[in-house]
């Protein structure tokens, strides 16, 4: 029965899509020691052991390998080297096609969505796994490889950094956007960018211009909402000298200025219906328009990139029809895998612009400003916060954290916390509950040996015991000062 299906080769449109191939991954959202590793991704495509250093003989599963994913190419990376991460810290395994089981095997405290993980839990996309004071991961779904770009290579840039156009992001959504912008750039047709405030519409316009054959000509940027009421036509189309009044100098207008290049018109949805109608003719193939006061039409070879944060139905349908490409810009909440990258970039900018802040909040290595002292909790909470204003809100929150910081690190201050959603989301997990008396008895019965005590109390390992002891103010290393042991 299966003979035919085994040899069946799917037709191009029947091949699996990137979306259908998505599987659980964890993305490094913060590393205390190595923030330049943020954005690296681990595929949980089978049981995987995550820990410090190389594989061990008694690993319960093959080692998880961090990957730097770029379209069509994954670069394997060494494990992160933080001493706080145990040699075998986590066991990850897929559960179905969308969830993972997370088992804590190492000594470091692990939290999922802020709640301590005692044994094991099931996590799904959007959940945040923290290895205490070492690394923060976000569970996400993405294909094992990002699909290759349709129009060949994108200009090279450092992993996790800003691309040559200033856009930051290594997530699947970020690369889908770059792919769409690159495709739009090659066709020389008008483009409409749709995106909320702070999603990077101007950067996207710069990318289209910079990737296009017009890159050596000018990019004229203007916000349509700021065009002075009453002279919008003159601003757009220009005017002859002395028109409409005698003192008026000759002006080329935005379409004239952008001749040979690109015109970026932000907030085009703010133009009145009448003004939108005035644009129709110039947007047709010939780029024909008239300067105010002139009778002969002119031509401008420009490409319009317009942007709006309104739904596209805010535009007249015949104007909308003149945009061959519509590119939707994802919000930061739609690409949480990338959230820490603009945080890191913003912190680097702050450090270089404000030496006093660099001295206060950053480590120094061989005299140079190095990684920020950023409490990983801040990232974990930001990852679970619904940002309304994208990068702008992120920057505001970061400055709020800096402004309210009581000491020499950027932490979760009450002022910041008041602005963030969702303190803790419970993830189903069994937690061992052992009372203080039982612990004290076990301490004396087992000669304070953590390994033997853990075994006797039925705990997973001695680290769980050490944490339990800490919780009750006890320690295996010294007799209790109260003398009640």
């Amino acid at each position: 029965m299966s003979g035919e299906s085994e040899t069946y080769e799917p037709l191009p449109w029947e091949r699996p899509t990137a979306a259908s191939l998505a599987q659980p991954h964890i993305v490094l959202a913060w590393s205390l020691d190595e923030p330049d590793r943020v954005g690296e991704c681990i595929a949980v495509d089978g049981p995987r052991a995550l820990g410090r250093g190389a594989a061990l003989a008694d690993d319960p599963a093959p080692r998880a390998t961090p990957q730097r994913m770029r379209p069509g190419h994954n670069q394997p990376m060494p494990p992160i080297g933080n001493a706080r991460i145990g040699r075998i810290q986590l066991l990850l395994a897929p559960v179905g096609s969308e969830r993972i089981s997370v088992t804590s095997l190492g000594r470091a405290l692990v939290r999922i969505n802020g709640a301590p993980l005692e044994q094991a839990a099931i996590a799904r996309a959007g959940d945040v796994i923290e290895i205490h004071n070492a690394a923060t991961y976000l569970v996400t779904l993405r294909p094992k490889r990002l699909p290759a770009l349709r129009n060949g290579a994108f200009p090279d840039f450092e992993f996790g950094g800003a691309d040559p156009f200033g856009m930051i992001g290594e997530s699947e959504a970020a690369w889908r956007l770059r792919d769409a912008l690159q495709l739009a750039s090659t066709t020389d047709r008008h483009v409409l960018l749709l995106g909320d405030s702070g999603t990077g519409k101007e950067l996207a316009a710069r990318a289209i211009h910079g990737l296009s054959g017009r890159r050596d000509r000018s990019l004229v940027c203007r916000n349509a909402a700021t065009l002075p009421e009453g002279i919008v036509d003159a601003e757009l189309f220009g005017n002859m000298r002395g028109y409409p009044s005698s003192g008026m100098p000759e002006r080329p207008g935005l379409f004239g200025e952008a001749d040979g290049g690109t015109l970026f018109l932000d907030e085009i949805g703010e133009l009145s219906e009448r003004m939108q109608a005035h644009l129709l003719r110039v947007l047709d193939a010939g780029g024909e328009y008239q300067r105010l006061g002139e009778s002969k039409p002119r031509r401008s070879s420009f490409r319009l990139i317009a942007a709006t944060n309104r739904a596209s139905d805010a535009l007249k349908h015949d104007l909308l029809a003149r945009f061959t490409h519509r590119v939707e810009l994802p919000t930061l909440s739609e690409r949480r895998d990338d959230l820490a990258l603009p945080v890191a970039a913003q912190l680097r900018r702050i450090a270089s612009a404000h030496p006093a802040l660099a001295n206060r909040f950053f480590e120094r290595r061989t005299g140079q400003v190095a990684e920020p002292r950023l409490a990983p909790h801040v990232i974990a909470r930001l990852l679970r916060h619904e940002l309304q204003h994208n990068v702008r809100e992120l920057e505001r929150l970061l400055w709020l954290a800096i402004g309210s910081a009581p000491a020499d690190y950027i932490g979760l201050t009450p002022a910041l916390e008041a602005e963030l959603d969702d303190a803790e989301q419970a993830v189903a997990q069994p937690a061992p509950e052992i009372d203080r008396l039982t612990l004290l008895r076990a301490l004396s019965e087992h000669d304070r040996s953590p390994t033997r005590m853990a075994q006797a109390l039925g705990l997973k390992n001695r680290y769980v015991l050490i944490r339990l002891l800490k919780k009750h103010g006890l320690s295996a290393s010294e007799p209790n000062p109260g003398g009640d042991a």
Binding site: G53, R87, R107, E363, R364, A370
Partner: protein, 131 residues
């Protein structure tokens, strides 16, 4: 894995579990006993210095069974330490502070055998760096 390597790993993991600020304690002990060496530690901020110390220490213990790795890494560390102005007696001071830090953190689980394993391992690492 040799018994010595197993003991080193066991005690280091116990130290890390008991006190994840052990690098801070190490520098406290070192500077208390030898205040003059603190002037050698100004290239990095104290936080960065402690992270680098912890990372190097765990990496060395993680690779204690790999002579090629140790040769390569210790060679590089030896060169940089000469340029920092580290002299021969200082290796002994660092070793004493390190072993005292581990002993404190391990508490009752610290043994004579662990003490000996660390002293022997440290002596051979320090010798390799001064070769």
């Amino acid at each position: 894995m040799t018994t010595q390597a197993a003991l080193l790993r066991e005690t280091l993991e116990t130290t890390l579990a008991a006190d994840d600020t052990f690098p801070r304690r190490f520098y406290e002990l070192l500077f208390a006993a030898h205040p003059e060496v603190s002037s050698l530690f100004t290239r990095h901020s104290p936080g960065a210095q402690r992270k680098m110390f912890a990372q190097k220490l765990v990496a060395i213990v993680d690779h204690i069974d790999s002579p090629e790795w140790l040769d390569r890494e210790l060679g590089a560390m030896a060169r940089s330490h000469v340029s920092y102005g580290v002299t021969s007696p200082m290796y002994g001071w660092v070793g004493d502070a390190l072993i005292e830090t581990l002993r404190e953190a391990c508490g009752a689980s610290w043994s004579e055998a662990a003490d000996q394993a660390w002293r022997e391992a440290y002596a051979s690492l320090a010798a390799a760096m001064q070769r």
